[in-house]
Amino acid sequence: MLNFLARRLVQIVPTLFFVSVLIFSLQQLLPGDPALVMAGEERDPAVIEQIRRQYRLDQPVPVQYAYWIKGVLSGDFGESLRNKMPVRELIAQKLPVTLQLGSMAILIALLIGIPAGIVAAVKKGSAWDYGANLFALWGISTPNFWLGIMLIFLFSIELGWLPASGYVPLTENWRASLAVTIMPAFVLGNAIAAILMRHTRSAMLQVLESDYVRTARAKGLLERTVILKHAMRNALTPVITLGALELGTLLSGAVLTEQIFSIPGFGKLIVDAVFNRDYAVVQGVVLVTATVYITLNLVADIAYILVNPRLRG
């Protein structure tokens, strides 16, 4: 186990290095000029020249990279071209928001997806199964932005129960925080629940037909025990990985939902930064996202081992 962990941790370093080079070089391929975008409506050539010098945009790309990576290694991610905020501070502001939203979404997805998947598998061919499938189809095919706006119309404008958008930190007022994040978390969780449900269902079906389940049943165990204790544990291993990966995707992939509910998270930060050609922010955020993603992957692998003793070598 320790051996495995150490091996995985060592692998992270070159991966991150590769990611950093990739982000840096790819964004240079973006058409458009950061200094020009930054200048907005005030496009005086002398001022634009000054910006290029100030942010070393006039230097060759490898030199720019060297400056950046040197800063990153000492914990300095540079500052935003657009508003002069240190990128580290921006990340510290946004990461908790995204993590909260992502965790809530995954929680909702697990609470809906796994039970629905199990029920659908156990009652295969019944009305339950069709109902769950219908729900999954709906969840996967409903666009986030549509569902989001519909929820706002219903719960904020018609009923007036929940605030339409915005964000309140958990630490400031947990009730208000949950009230503003529940709709976006549901929108995100709903789609993932559908995916989880489909996977749980097929994994369960496979397991339920395996020999050891038949044996368990032959032993005369209660059906509940067979399903919850024997079958589910095995069926859930692939679902765990899937859940962790989906959480990783939520880090920067919740853009549309964040946009609609005006949640100041990672997704919105990175999209705005790309459109503004705010390179330092893009680099910092992508690097952090990659790190978190890799970490989640690692956690998923560990969880995998914990639920599946055969992998503990």
Partner: protein, 502 residues
């Protein structure tokens, strides 16, 4: 159930009484997250909206675009036009308690002029240096007469900053700005909110009635409106013209509008077109394109008739609009004849660069179908804004759909776009007569004489067609009926002095 309702109503009443006695907060929904809140470095329209709550200027404008004093008391231009003497308002304090005087005014203007990366430098380029006449009078000595200068001082170039705070913060001043406006900065969370509170020592504090202001960027127009309707916001900017009907129908909402100072137009590439298409080679072809467009139809079809059509850099109600050059009505036959005269065979293919966005894409499509009838094949190329900008700079287009937010002085709507070699003359138009008219309009202060110069320019533009001016958008602000006293100015800014929240 009845009991529960009763209790709920009682609770609601109690809460609302509590709120009435507590602080009043004005929550404003913005269409974008502003850039840095440093008057010297700022460059976005949305940023200007926020500045007007906390950063007073030497001068301001009124509804009729007259320049009125704000932190200044009066001004006087020297007879030769080469100096501007400004008397300052006494007893004004910055948010940090520092006094506003000639020293501070000189410091602020010099910071705008010399700070590395200052975007105000070009706006104040005519200023040679600033002198202190007495503790409440400054004199701006100019390199040459520059009549738009006073108008520049009604915007960010006229914003005054606390010298002490600005010196300490350097280029980080925008993270905690200290000015002399009605509200002072409390905190900002990027892309989430910017919070201000009432400044107790404001020079005009008797007209400030609301305790706190919170700006929230909400990009999606539908969601912004939803927040206003659900009571999450009190005022929103940039309501879509197509949503106006709905807003007007809602008895809890009010609309305030004004026609913008800017315009929406199509820049035609004359001097930089590498392909040397017919549009760049012949004014007749450009005129034909102009005649193919029915401006009012675009307004009706796309904007429910809420915008104002136009053909010049200022809207038809502006004092500088040239009434002698009205909009030419659509005339497809004449357009075809012009193409024939120019010796080109239709269809004339045009590379039409259009920035992505609902307010540009749909009108572009309408223009495309109108132009097709006259013999143009407008190939719309939808491009993300930053990419399009770069292509416009390098001349990689034949027609470019571009909006300008507008400035108080007509110089700000013309010079940088039409003067040869100016930074935003994307079409590379080069006409010495036009350059002369633009320069003359800067030198004289008499409005009648300036208008005459601009008439020369307008005529040239109508003949040569470097830029097809199409329409002027309506600035649409919606707010709840709880907010009283709101009036919309044509610059689009949200002025908070005098507002009351019931």
């Amino acid at each position: 159930m009845k009991m529960f309702r009763l209790a709920a109503t009682a609770a609601a009443v109690l809460v609302s009484i509590g709120a009435a006695q507590a602080q009043t907060t004005l929550r404003i929904g913005l269409a974008e997250d502003p850039d840095i809140l440093d008057p010297t470095m700022a460059r976005t329209y949305v940023g200007r909206i926020v500045f007007s709550s906390f950063c007073d200027k030497l001068f301001d404008i009124d509804e009729k675009l007259n320049i009125v004093p704000q932190l200044a008391l009066s001004s006087e231009t020297a007879d030769d036009g080469k100096a501007l003497v400004i008397k300052l308002r006494p007893g004004v304090k910055f948010h940090d308690g520092e006094p506003f005087d000639a020293e501070a005014a000189k410091f602020s203007l010099e910071r705008h002029l010399t700070f590395p990366g200052s975007f105000r430098k070009p706006e104040l380029a005519s200023v040679d240096h600033v002198e202190i006449v007495d503790p409440l009078t400054v004199k701006l000595v100019l390199k040459s007469p520059f009549s738009p200068l006073l108008a520049q001082l009604t915007d960010r170039a006229g914003m005054m900053m606390s010298p002490k705070a600005a010196k300490e913060a350097g280029d980080k001043f925008g993270l905690r700005p200290v000015c002399a406006g009605p509200y002072k900065f409390v905190e900002r969370v990027q892309q989430d909110r910017i919070v201000f509170e009432k400044f107790a020592d404001y020079w005009n504090k008797d007209n400030v009635f609301i305790d706190k202001i919170v700006f929230q960027p909400i990009v999606d127009a539908t969601v912004r409106l939803a927040n206003l309707k659900s009571g999450g916001l009190d005022l929103i900017e940039r309501v879509l013209a197509t949503d106006l009907k709905e807003v007007r129908a809602d008895s809890r909402l009010k609309v305030a509008t004004a026609i913008e100072l800017g315009y929406q137009g199509i820049t035609l590439n004359i001097g930089k077109d590498k392909a040397k298409g017919p549009l760049s080679q012949s004014a007749k072809v450009r005129q034909a394109l102009d005649l193919a467009i029915d401006r009012e139809a675009i307004n009706q079809v796309v904007f429910n008739g809420e915008f104002q059509v136009g053909n010049q850099w200022v809207n038809p109600n502006h004092p500088y609009y040239q009434k002698s050059l009205p909009i030419r009505p659509r005339n497809v036959e004449k357009a075809k004849a012009l193409l024939k005269e120019a010796g080109v065979t239709p269809p004339v293919s045009v590379d039409f660069l259009v920035p992505k966005g609902a307010e540009t894409e749909t009108p572009a499509q309408v223009i495309q179908s109108m132009a097709a009838e006259a013999g143009f094949d407008m190939k719309i190329r939808l491009t993300e804004f930053a990419t399009g900008l770069k292509q416009a700079e390098t001349g990689d287009y034949q027609a470019y759909m571009l909006a300008w937010s507008g400035r108080v002085d007509p110089d700000g709507n013309t010079f940088v776009f039409l003067h040869n070699g100016a930074p935003q003359n994307y079409g590379g138009w080069n006409n010495p007569q036009a350059d002369k008219a633009l320069e003359e309009a800067r030198l004289v202060t008499d409005p009648a004489k300036r208008k005459a110069s601009y008439e020369v320019l307008a005529k040239l533009v109508q003949e040569e067609e470097p830029l097809l001016y199409l329409y002027h958008r309506r600035i649409i602000i919606a707010h709840t009926t709880k907010l009283e006293g709101y009036r919309q100015m044509p610059d689009g800014l949200v002025r908070v002095v005098g507002l009351k929240l019931k």
